[in-house]
Every structure is written in structure tokens, then in C-alpha cells.
């Protein structure tokens, strides 16, 4: 099938690509662009490992056709750090040990960043509920939640 021209802004860089309509945004990011920080877990939208931020909203990129993301701004885990400084959410995951094998971590960090951007004042219970679309098969949820709460607190107090 014919490839279609697609223009994506990924982590601030513009990419003009020719892609097959059946390629998901996740496949475009990983295979076409080479940004393998975003992970493929279940590939059915259940695990959240593939979470990226599209036009400010966290989405499961395994459910998005790449061609429908044309013209949109996409942020992946590779785009969070700036000037050599990790994003506060990334730093909080490191400081609290909010990861074990690390496979779910990029998805958790992207989902958490979007939640904190939207409203950093959520309670622990609200963050727990709002992160229900991300699964950690190592079951390291306690430290993940601790990291998210610390990051939210830091972002609240510094902005």
C-alpha cells in the first residue's frame, strides 16, 4: 500500500516522513525515528507502556495510526530532559527508586508528567486512580506512587 507523507513534531524536532497507513504511532517512533524509549507492552491499550504526550494529552501510542498524528506535537521520554537536566518527574523516579526492571517506567513517567501538568494538587488516592492505565509487572507501585507525589510537590512549590 502506498506510503503517505506525514509531518510530525517530535520533542521539538520536525520530521517529514513517508509512512504506511497501517503503522501505529508507536511503530513510527520506535522503528522509523529510532526513539526506542517508548515501549511496546501489551499492544492493546491495557498496560500504558507506550504512553506519549500528543498535543498536551497522554495517549497510548499503540492505538494511534501514525498518519493521524500528522501536524501534531509529540513528546516522548527522550524529550523530557532539557539542557542536560532531567525533568523533575524523571529525577523523582530515580531518587525514590520508582522502577525495577524499568520497562514500564517511560510510560509511567509520561502519564505522570501529563497528570501533574494538568493538576499537581491531586491527592494520593487521585493519582493512584488516574494512573490506573499503567501496569508495572514487577509490582513496584509503592515507590512509583511515592515518586509521583514527590514530583508533584516539587513542581507545585517551584512554579
Amino acid at each position: 500500500m502506498a506510503k503517505l507523507p506525514v509531518s510530525l513534531t517530535i520533542n521539538g524536532d520536525e520530521h517529514d516522513l513517508l509512512i504506511e497507513p497501517r503503522k501505529t504511532l508507536l511503530a513510527v517512533l520506535r522503528d522509523t525515528i529510532g526513539l526506542t524509549g517508548t515501549k511496546e507492552g501489551c499492544s492493546t491499550g491495557d498496560c500504558g507502556a507506550c504512553t506519549v504526550i500528543v498535543d498536551g494529552k497522554a495517549v497510548t501510542s499503540c492505538m494511534v495510526l501514525g498518519v493521524t498524528a500528522s501536524g501534531k506535537e509529540i513528546t516522548t521520554i527522550e524529550g523530557l530532559a532539557s539542557d542536560g537536566e532531567l525533568h523533575p518527574v524523571q529525577q523523582a523516579f530515580i531518587n525514590t527508586g520508582g522502577y525495577q526492571c524499568g520497562f514500564c517506567t517511560p510510560g509511567f513517567i509520561m502519564a505522570s508528567k501529563a497528570l501533574i501538568d494538568e493538576n499537581p494538587d491531586r491527592t494520593e488516592e487521585e493519582f493512584r486512580h488516574a494512573l490506573g492505565g499503567n501496569i508495572c509487572r514487577c509490582t513496584g507501585y509503592t515507590k512509583i506512587l511515592e515518586a509521583v507525589l514527590k514530583a508533584a510537590e516539587e513542581i507545585r512549590t517551584t512554579t
Binding site: 500500500m1 497507513p21 497501517r22 499492544s43 497522554a58 492505538m63 490506573g132 492505565g133
Partner: protein, 284 residues
């Protein structure tokens, strides 16, 4: 995923013409279709995206508090809309029950309804809102009440080329509520969904609507239960009768997730609980 031809029409007429062809599928949020295409349960030859058609997304509220919701409005937007939370609480609560935030940022209310799952989380809220469904095709437009839209699991009255464009909700009831019976807090399908909307006047129920999901081949209104309530004061005995009438209106199946007997019993229980909450909101 099999290959397909991708279209991004900018008018409804063009989308309808393409969708009238054989083996064509509409793409709104993609949360059902893309997963289905990966699993090869969906193998369309053409996929028609709705996202470039102007005017299909968004929520507008009129001065009489009637609300119009465009078909490609994200369910996350329905969930967070202050007007829908206030006037159609059951619908906002139902939208908030779908998948995860990441999925609700993609999924659309039109897709949730057009997919015609008897367990769709927005359907009970739309039923008790008495939603009118606007449908467009190359031949023109028509409107179908939501309770006449479904004909079976995954089946609707929509004919080839017809596209849902918006849901119009008339003036709201004074209190409504939705309960989803489920195991997981999020990312679960409803065993049962029950919505109720009521109007109260001086302690008398002047209007009552009950919508049931996942307990019959299509979502249904429990009209006998509604008739029992209208014109009466909401006593515990009356709510019990309404619960029993709603359970009698259901025709659930047994499946991996729970038995028909459990579903029918829970329709009774949940209808009473949902009504109680809707009545509290109506009097508050």
C-alpha cells in the same frame, strides 16, 4: 495489521460517500478499530478518518440548558465538562468509567455509541438524558432517539454511509447518577451499567428514566419501572418495586465474567441504589 487505503475527507458528504463503499470503516478515536485491525478481527479495505471534518467535535450548551455533543468529542472532554457534570451527571460519570485517561483522551463518544456494545459506559447516561442522535449521509440527515438506535450486539439502525454527527440532550432532569458494576477500579468492562435520572416536585417524582447496559442484547430503558415511580413519593417500598421491575425488564446472559442470575439480582440492587443517589441529587 492488514494494509488498507487511508482517507481523510474534509466534508461529511465525502466521508459518507467513501463509507458507503464495501469494506470501509470509520476511524474516530481508534481505540476499538486499531486494536481490532491488529487482532485481524477488523480487516477494512479503506479507513476513513473523521478528524479533518470541521464541526464534528465539541460541546455546546444552549440557554435552556439543552446540550449538543459532537460525535468526535473525546470522552475525556465529556467527563470533564462542567455543564455535563452538572446537568447530566450520569453521562459524565459513565464517560469517566471508560478505560484509562490515556484511552479517554483518544476515544470519542460517537465511537463508544456506534460500536454498539451493550456494555458501553456512556450509553446508560445518554438513555436517561433522552438523547437524540443526529445522523448524516449523502442523502441528507435524520434523527433517531438513542433508545431506537440499537438492534443487537454491535448492530444499529445505521445504513451504509450513515455517520453519527452529534448527540442532542434536551433540557435536563434535576438529578441523575450512573453505577458501573465491575471488578477493577479502572480498565474494566461493565458487568452491568445502571443510570437513573429523576425530577422531583414537592416530594413527588414527576419524571423518572432508568437506563440499563450489559443486561440485554442492546442497552434498554426500564419503562415499567419508570411508570411505577412517576406520580409517587420515593418511599423505600416504591424503590424496591422499581428495582424488581427493572430486573424483570433485563434479559442477561451468563458469561465468563458472571452468571445471568447474578446480573439480574444486581440490576434490582443497583437500580435502587442508583435511584436513591439520583433522588438525593434532585432534592439537593
Amino acid at each position: 495489521m492488514k494494509s488498507f487505503e487511508f482517507f481523510e475527507p474534509t466534508t461529511l458528504a465525502e466521508a459518507s460517500r467513501l463509507f458507503a463503499e464495501e469494506h470501509a470503516q470509520l476511524l474516530a478515536g481508534g481505540t476499538d478499530l486499531v486494536i481490532g485491525m491488529k487482532a485481524l478481527t477488523e480487516t477494512p479495505q479503506s479507513v476513513i478518518s473523521l478528524q479533518k471534518i470541521p464541526g464534528l467535535a465539541g460541546i455546546t450548551t444552549e440557554t435552556d440548558n439543552s446540550i449538543s455533543i459532537g460525535a468526535t468529542t473525546k470522552v475525556r472532554e465529556v467527563e470533564l465538562s462542567a455543564d455535563i457534570q452538572q446537568h447530566h451527571t450520569a453521562l459524565a460519570e459513565g464517560a469517566a468509567e471508560i478505560g484509562s485517561i490515556q484511552i479517554r483522551n483518544l476515544a470519542t463518544i460517537g465511537g463508544n455509541i456506534a460500536h454498539a456494545s451493550p456494555a458501553a459506559d456512556t450509553v446508560a447516561g445518554l438513555l436517561v438524558a433522552d438523547a437524540q442522535v443526529d445522523i448524516a449521509s449523502a442523502d441528507g440527515e435524520r434523527t433517531v432517539p438513542i433508545n431506537e438506535l440499537f438492534t443487537g450486539p454491535g448492530q444499529t439502525v445505521l445504513t451504509p454511509g450513515e455517520i453519527i454527527t452529534r448527540f442532542r440532550l434536551p433540557s435536563p432532569a434535576s438529578g441523575s447518577h450512573y453505577i458501573k458494576h465491575k471488578i477493577r477500579e479502572v480498565m474494566d468492562l461493565a458487568f452491568i451499567g445502571v443510570a437513573a435520572a429523576v425530577n422531583l416536585d414537592n416530594g413527588t417524582i414527576t419524571d423518572a428514566r432508568i437506563g440499563l447496559a450489559a443486561v440485554a442484547p442492546t442497552p434498554i430503558r426500564a419503562t415499567e419501572a419508570e411508570d411505577l415511580l412517576k406520580g409517587n413519593a420515593p418511599t423505600p417500598a416504591l424503590l424496591e418495586q422499581a428495582g424488581e421491575a427493572a430486573a424483570a425488564a433485563s434479559s442477561p446472559i451468563s458469561d465468563l465474567r458472571c452468571s445471568a442470575e447474578h446480573r439480574r439480582e444486581m440490576v434490582d440492587v443497583l437500580t435502587r441504589q442508583t435511584l436513591q443517589q439520583a433522588l438525593e441529587r434532585a432534592s439537593g
